[in-house]
């Protein structure tokens, strides 16, 4: 893959917005079927230009207008904001208090830096194939709860382009949620609590809520390969002391003396797990049930959400298919069917895509020579490794459109009954 150089962005971005960005599906997504008048026009976009110049409160009459503007100013980064009471680009012309965010997708932002206290492989902005499993687990846990618990249907999961993932929940009803309900959702979905001054960040007590039980079920599938083998969290006295700090006193000391006798993390974990599980089996006979094994699994693996991003309706989040200006990687949708195989390092970068265009260029041009200029451009991404990701966005939009048609049919049927 061609290495990415941030310095090349001014040269690459015009190509990206002209030939690669999926303007069609993107516009269809954010128009939401056109059922609500002006929905697209009232949406805030924000652009980051060269040298960190922010342009907030941009808005456009149509997806075509947005496309033209993207191709004109070639932003380094696109953020999507809320749907406002008035057109965002005219926010200065209305009375201060009158300009209010009204709706937005419910969004989640999961960032690898928030896991620094439980990763041994990397820190801050760095990621590797090992710790990426944390993101896989996060998506699995949150997505299950969104569907089964919250009854949500349309979730677009996206790789942020660097060290995390975003989720856009797009159901009609959810886009109208209040900040209070959004905040409550994040709290419902959060189990890891406390800042730098808290050692034990997960505390479970009976009864164990089905959400927690099911989340543990998800984490369990990854825990051995990720935490015990990959991160080797019980591999040395230093690392197992960190784990044992989360275990109640009466179990810590016996485990501390037993651990050195065992061969590896897997064996030591079996010892710990066996010990606390016995307290649960004996519960009811006077013993206090202990969930230390679950607490450890959750503290090491459970998703850590940024509440502020989800809570505020007006909060901005980086748009899908925006290029990450530091890595050059395109923020692409995730295929949940093949999530475990997703490799962030294999995501196309703007430079690799432009290179692909160049090599595919000659052959393609001849074939398509009969077609008009704009039509050819629309299909350019199909010659590149961006194509499967665009297909994911299209499938997502088609699924929403199908649901909308179904809903309309159901309603007209209901009316027919009268």
């Amino acid at each position: 893959m061609a290495p990415f150089e941030p310095a090349a962005l001014p040269e690459l971005l015009p190509v990206f917005y002209r030939r690669l960005f999926p303007h069609g599906a993107y516009g269809r997504w954010l128009s939401y079927g056109g059922a609500v008048k002006n929905y697209f026009q009232l949406r805030e976009f924000s652009f980051t230009l060269r040298d960190d110049v922010y342009l907030r409160f941009q808005s456009f009459g149509s997806p075509q207008e947005l496309e033209r503007e993207l191709q004109r100013i070639n932003p380094y980064k696109i953020d999507i904001g809320a749907v406002y009471s008035h057109r965002p680009n005219q926010h200065n012309t209305v009375h201060l208090g009158a300009f209010q965010p009204q709706e937005k997708e419910l969004v989640f932002d999961i960032d690898m830096t928030d896991y620094d206290d439980v990763r041994t492989c990397c820190s801050s902005a760095d990621i590797c194939a090992k710790c990426w499993t944390l993101m896989t687990i996060a998506v699995r846990v949150i997505d299950r709860a969104l569907v089964e618990d919250l009854g949500v249907r349309h979730r677009l999961w996206v790789y942020s382009g660097r060290r995390g993932v975003h989720c856009w929940v797009c159901d009609d009803a959810v886009r109208k949620w209040s900040p209070a309900l959004r905040a409550a959702t994040v709290e419902y979905l959060s189990l890891v609590k406390g800042g730098a001054e808290t050692v034990k960040k997960v505390n479970l007590c009976e009864p164990i809520h089905p959400f927690i039980r099911r989340s543990v079920g998800v984490v369990e599938k990854y825990f051995k390969a990720y935490a015990l083998v990959g991160q080797d969290i019980l591999g040395s006295p230093e690392s197992w002391d960190k784990v044992l700090a989360l275990v109640p006193d009466e179990h810590r000391e016996p485990l501390q003396s037993e651990f050195p006798k065992k061969r590896d993390s897997v064996q030591r974990w079996a010892l710990l797990k066996d010990r606390v599980e016995r307290t649960r089996a004996a519960a009811g006979k006077g013993a206090t049930p202990c969930y230390a094994d679950w607490e450890i699994m959750l503290q090491y693996c459970f998703p850590r959400l940024d509440i502020n991003v989800s809570k505020g309706v007006g909060h901005l989040l980086k748009s899908p298919f925006s290029v990450h200006p530091k890595t050059g990687r395109v923020s692409v949708p995730l295929d949940l069917q093949r999530l475990d195989q997703f490799d962030p390092f294999a995501v196309p970068t703007i430079s690799s895509l432009c290179h692909e265009l160049d090599t595919a260029g000659d052959a393609g041009e001849q074939e398509d020579s009969g077609e008009t200029e704009p039509k050819r451009r629309v299909r350019d991404y199909k010659k590149t490794s961006l194509a499967p990701y665009v297909r994911l966005l299209e499938q997502f939009v088609e699924e929403m459109e199908r649901a909308r048609r179904g809903e309309r049919l159901r309603r007209s049927d209901l009316q027919g009954d009268f």
Partner: protein
């Protein structure tokens, strides 16, 4: 108040009559111009659903009934959602005495909430006796307590006027009114609860026995205190997430397919949540009409007095601006900062960085103790550029939000330092954060070690940890103050980090204020600030008063990825 006492509020009403925003509500003549009409601002029937129509007609009829002597129908229940402003005339002296009684009541609610577990026997009996003493409705069943119900109604609306004026005041008022309502609702019999819920239009559909049996084990593990047999006994209701938001948030209810399955006993939480939302919205709307109330020179001093004498100063007007030099801060942080600020200061010095929540909490505190904008910019910049942030990035990213805090950017609101309640209740610290209340948000074991390292004697540490265990975080902090300042009883109740600082400085300097740094710009700064804080009071705030979004600067709107 002299001869003014003789004035009828009706005359003041006529002044209110002319205020924009209430004109429309009053043109029909159904009400008297109380500038605090519930959650709706338009006249009867003006685009409101039919269900709400009855309120306004009830309002017109209420006045009529009262005149004809049948007063009972005006208040069919011993408690209410306060949807209708009062319509009768009252004298200014009654206005004042009603207000003062309700403040006494709310103040009692606050102090009981600090000292006792809510809904414990002691809490309930003390609150009941206070209600009785002040002649508010205290027995749910008493059917002939018209006077008490009227007092409850009118006094609530008067305090709304006094306590809508800033976010901090609204937060306090909302909290106390919620606790009061929670107590009074919990005292109702099941039958009266059901009737009251129908009255306020909050009835939910019970799930069938079949469905309940199917979900029984999940209902039992989701609902604290519900064994399988108890699940079988009780009715469960299917409630939308928005209505059950508090139960949902705390995972105290079974959630499936976007619905909460709520047992009858937890329906209380839903009623409370609904009441909170309504009151919060009403306070925001009242705040919008504030300029009109403020221009009434007879009421404004009274309302201001009411709010200030009971919640204490908000530390937004800096009498001490420019009196602290940056070199003093390290020493002050050890001597006179409350633990939360000492922790933030140390984290800042150690890491040369603080995340957004910490910058807000600590930055506004420093502003409150007297740092000028110029000092603040210098202070933060010096520290940040020792870490990963270069001067250019600081000027672009962080300087904005500091100027924002000082009311120099964006909406130009002059932000006030956070109170203990705000720090304890909102925005808990997460990964990498050092803000929050150390008594609320630390592991007891770490707190203990920290207190040990600060040379707090073991007996004092035990006392503090006991208070923390009982969730009396402010009392724990107060104890910390006493121990570090070597006094037996500080003689005030602690509710603000800046109050902690001021009191500490008073004690340490024997009543004298910290040494003044000669600075002319400091004085002009002070003038501007007090002016701006007055302006900010009259600026209408957004409808979601309880969200912190308005406190966030530009950079908080972007994800650092």
């Amino acid at each position: 108040m002299g001869p003014a006492v003789a004035l009828r509020v009706r005359e003041i009403d006529e002044l209110w009559w002319h205020y924009p925003g209430h004109q429309t509500a009053r043109r029909d003549g159904s009400g008297r111009g109380w500038p605090c009409a519930g959650s709706w601002g338009a006249g009867p029937g003006a685009g409101r659903p039919a269900g709400e129509m009855q309120f306004s007609s009830a309002q017109a009829r209420g006045k009529h009934l009262w005149l004809s002597g049948d007063r009972r129908q005006l208040y069919p229940h011993s408690l209410q959602f306060y949807l209708e402003p009062p319509t009768e005339d009252i004298s200014l002296s009654e206005f004042e005495s009603l207000a003062i009684d309700r403040l006494k009541l709310l103040k009692t609610v606050e102090s009981l909430g600090v000292s006792y577990v809510r809904n414990s026997d002691q809490y309930n009996s003390k609150l009941a006796s206070e209600l009785r003493k002040l002649k508010f409705p205290y027995k749910a069943l008493a059917d002939d307590d018209y006077e008490a119900r009227r007092k409850d109604h009118i006094s609530h609306f008067i305090l709304r006027l006094a306590y809508c004026q800033s976010e901090e005041l609204r937060r306090w008022f909302l909290q106390q009114e919620m606790d009061l309502f929670r107590y009074r609702f919990s005292q109702l019999t099941d039958n009266l609860m059901q009737k009251f819920m129908e009255h306020v239009d909050l009835s939910f559909e019970a799930i069938s026995e079949d469905l309940k049996n199917e979900l029984a084990s999940e209902l039992s593990t989701s609902t604290p205190g519900f064994t399988m047999s108890k699940v079988k006994e009780q009715m469960f209701y299917k409630v939308g997430l928005a209505d059950a938001v508090d139960l949902f948030r705390a995972r105290r209810v079974f959630i499936k397919d976007g619905f909460a399955y709520v047992p009858f006993k937890d329906i209380v939480a839903i009623v409370l949540n609904n009441y909170r939302a309504k009151l919060s919205k009403a306070l925001a709307l009242t705040a919008r009409s504030l300029p009109s109330i403020q221009s009434d020179e007879r009421l404004q001093p009274l309302l201001n007095h009411l709010s200030h004498s009971y919640i204490g100063p908000d530390y937004s007007v800096q009498k001490s601006t420019g009196k602290i030099s940056l070199e003093q801060i390290d020493a002050l942080s050890v001597k006179s900062f409350p633990l939360c600020m000492r922790q933030l200061h140390k984290a800042l010095r150690d890491n040369h960085h603080l995340r957004h929540g910490g910058r807000m909490q600590y930055g506004l505190f420093l502003k409150g103790i007297g740092l000028t904008l110029e000092q603040a910019l210098e202070f933060w910049k010096k520290e940040f550029i020792r870490g990963k942030v270069d001067a250019d990035k600081f000027d672009k990213g962080y300087a904005y939000s500091i100027r924002h805090n000082y009311g120099k950017e964006g909406k130009r609101t002059d932000y006030t330092p956070y109170s203990c309640m705000k720090i304890i209740m909102s925005n808990p610290p997460s990964q990498g954060d050092y803000h929050g209340c150390p008594f609320r948000h630390s592991d007891p074991e770490l707190l203990k070690q920290k207190l040990q390292s600060y040379k707090i004697p073991p007996s004092g540490i035990t006392q503090i940890l006991d208070l923390v265990k009982g969730m009396h975080y402010q009392l724990a902090c107060q104890k910390y103050f006493e121990l570090t300042h070597d006094v037996d009883d500080i003689g005030f109740s602690l509710n603000h980090p800046n109050q902690y600082f001021t009191e500490s400085q008073k004690l340490l300097s024997g009543g004298r204020e910290p040494k003044k740094e000669v600075s002319n710009s400091g004085n002009t700064q002070q003038k501007n600030n007090s002016q701006e804080s007055m302006n900010s009071n009259s600026t209408p705030t957004s409808s979601n008063t309880t969200t912190d979004a308005e406190l966030e600067g530009l950079e908080a709107y972007f994800t650092e990825d």
